[in-house]
């Protein structure tokens, strides 16, 4: 068990270093920080002086080391576009994205699980077919289109929900801001959460259904039926439990991608999160922001992957190799 954790940790660190290398490469080769910092009129000598003072003429490995050192302290430089420290920018906007991701993720998982189980158990029913057709549409609808259409129906035509922004937010502690505590905040969460969650929900639903159907075909389910176990025990006690193991793994991994998909939703709804920040940084080639966002996303992914692996280990007894040594 300990060996397993250590191995995974090492792997994670390697991935992080690889991502850091890519981020650093961005800094080195894309765009020119000096031009963004001084005007057109600065002389060549001045630019050189600036380069020296910023350490940009040092050998690459030294710069990389400095980069990593800075990153570990949360220091990512200054945004070219906004002339603000990148770390501050990101932290300011992170709560908005995290709240959105959490709400839509939970929504997606619960409804996806429920619908998936239903359509697997009632394969040939009319409602199942409707749901499955709907799911295909869900997978073919790009996220941004869902957002735009929702805005049209609920914000423009019906005027029930806002199409823009987070509503009123309340500060918690000295960093977090939440929209849960105000009515306008809660209303503003609805459309973006649905937009972000719909694709995930469809994915989860189809995954659950496919896995459940596969499990229902297995020998131990046949044997369970042959023993006369009631349908509820077979479907939920045996089949569902075996389905949940891969489903939870994949859903956990999806959490990371929700945060990335937030890029689109935030753009459609003008949601002040890190995703929207990233898009504008790509548009304007604002390298410090791009590279910091990259590192942050990589970190989130790596941590989630690690947690999911540990969870898998806890749930599936086959992975606990210690006891197997005592067999027969």
């Amino acid at each position: 068990m300990i060996a397993f954790i250590i191995r995974r940790l090492l792997q994670s660190i390697i991935v992080m270093i690889a991502v850091a290398a890519v981020s650093f490469a961005l800094f080195c080769f894309v765009g020119d920080p000096i031009s963004s910092m001084v005007g057109q009129e600065a002389s060549i000598a001045d630019r050189q002086a600036l380069r020296d003072s910023l350490g940009l003429n040092d050998p690459i490995p030294v710069q990389f080391g400095r980069f990593i050192g800075n990153a570990l302290q949360g220091e990512f430089g200054i945004s070219y576009r906004l002339q603000m420290p990148v770390t501050e920018l990101i932290l300011q906007r992170l709560p908005a994205t995290l709240e959105l991701a959490l709400v839509s993720g939970t929504l997606a998982f619960i409804s996806g699980l429920g619908l998936g189980v239903y359509t697997a158990l009632r394969r040939r029913g009319v409602l199942s077919n409707i749901i499955m057709t709907g799911s295909l549409i869900g997978v073919s609808l790009p996220t941004f289109l869902i957002g735009v259409l929702l805005i049209w129906v609920f914000a423009v035509e019906l005027r029930w929900l806002p199409s823009n922004g987070r509503g009123q937010v309340v500060a918690l502690g000295n960093w977090w801001t939440t929209g849960f505590l105000t009515p306008s905040g809660r209303l503003a969460l609805i459309l973006p959460a649905i937009t972000l969650g719909l694709y995930q929900m469809t994915l989860i639903m189809r995954l659950v259904r496919a896995e459940l159907l596969e499990v229902l075909r297995s020998d131990y389910i046949k044997f369970a039926r042959a023993r006369g176990l009631p349908a509820r025990a077979v479907n939920f006690g045996h089949a569902l439990k075996n389905t949940l193991v891969p489903v939870i793994t994949i859903t956990g991994l999806q959490l990371g991608s929700i945060i990335a998909f937030a890029i689109i939703t935030e753009t459609v709804f003008n949601w002040p999160g890190v995703g929207a920040l990233f898009i504008s940084s790509v548009r304007f080639v604002d390298v410090p922001v791009m590279s910091a966002y990259l590192m942050m996303i990589a970190l989130i992914f790596v941590v989630i992957n690690l947690i999911v692996d540990l969870l898998y280990y806890a749930v599936d007894p086959r992975l606990r190799i210690d006891r197997a040594a005592q067999s027969h």
């Binding site: 941004f144 049209w152 990371g256 998909f261 898009i279």
Partner: protein
């Protein structure tokens, strides 16, 4: 004691008949979903490919534009010129039907090329990794696994951003389409590589491959003649679904403003423009491109899904 009758004598069927009667063709013929989806895709593809020939007008020829035609609702005569447009016009008097046709053209082009790129890249890497085995294979598959953990859109955005940063300003717009194709393709090669690699490893150990190697046949020839045909089924399914994903990816990137240049709008660009006009009530500028995109992506997805079920021997 039941008397049975003689079975009729069987005749040898011709090749066309066997293709028609094959499992796959039979399933296609009897699946209304597959037929409808194929028709939709064909219609859209034909309109897109032949747009310059069959569109009512060329929406990107400034000389043909009449600003007075702007904002005409669908099927209603324009207040000033009296012209009728099937799907209405946008803010600058462009016929929506034409803009959609041209837009679909761009979307399809980018999508198809991206999938082609992903396929070539993925199959090459897969064949190579499977054939070589050992640490080459491990390394390549590690990279694939890590990439698979990240959402494709992020990777496409990253590649796009980096390429953008490298290119001097004046070339950015011109090459944007190709950068986009490479970006989307790079985000999508992994599935192809995995499937082909798996097949590679299986076939590599079979006797006929070893025999061919002993004779001195070139590895590339072995790979293409023997391994590839075995794996075409799954590759086709992945390609179809990848096409839908690529179309959606391109539309998303264009919508976000980091896709096709403004001079060559795709369906994504059109939708972003349309969103701007929602509040003022010109709903048709949004609706028709949206419906087209949805119909295209949905049909391709349906085909891919159907293909997957049809080729899966265990789902009978």
């Amino acid at each position: 004691m039941t008397p049975d009758s003689q079975p009729p004598a069987a005749k040898a069927p011709g090749r066309l008949y066997r293709a028609w009667d094959s499992d796959l063709a039979y399933k296609f013929r009897t699946s209304p979903v597959a037929i409808v989806a194929t028709i939709v895709v064909l219609v859209v593809v034909v309109c897109a490919v032949f747009a310059p020939l069959i569109a009512p007008m060329n929406p990107y020829n400034p000389a043909a534009l009449n600003l007075m035609n702007g904002f005409t609702p669908p099927m209603e005569p324009n207040a000033f010129t009296g012209e009728v447009f099937l799907l209405g016009t946008d803010g600058q008097g462009r016929d929506m039907l034409s803009t959609i046709m041209y837009g679909t053209r761009t979307s399809l082009f980018v999508g198809a090329m991206a999938v082609l790129f992903a396929m070539v890249l993925g199959i090459s890497i897969g064949l190579f990794a499977g054939w070589q085995g050992g640490w080459v294979d491990s390394a390549l598959m590690r990279v694939a696994d890590v990439q698979l953990a990240f959402p494709a859109i992020l990777i496409a955005l990253l590649v796009f951003g980096i390429a953008r940063g490298f290119l001097p300003d004046n070339l950015r717009d011109q090459l944007a389409i190709w950068v986009l194709i490479v970006a989307i393709g790079l985000s999508d090669w992994v599935q192809f590589a995995r499937v082909v690699r798996g097949a590679s490893m299986v076939e590599k150990n079979k006797e006929y491959v070893q025999a061919a190697r002993v004779i001195g046949a070139h590895p590339l020839k072995i790979m293409f003649r023997h391994i590839l045909p075995n794996v075409m089924g799954p590759v086709l399914v992945i390609a179809t679904i990848s096409l839908a994903l690529a179309i959606i990816a391109e539309a998303t990137l264009s919508f976000l403003g980091v896709g096709v240049p403004p001079t060559q709008p795709s369906l994504g660009t059109l939708i972003r423009v349309g969103q701007g006009f929602l509040i003022s009530g010109e709903w048709w500028i949004l609706l028709f491109p949206a419906v087209t995109l949805l119909a295209l992506a949905l049909s391709v997805n349906l085909l891919g899904d159907w293909l997957r079920d049809a080729l899966n021997p265990r789902l009978r």
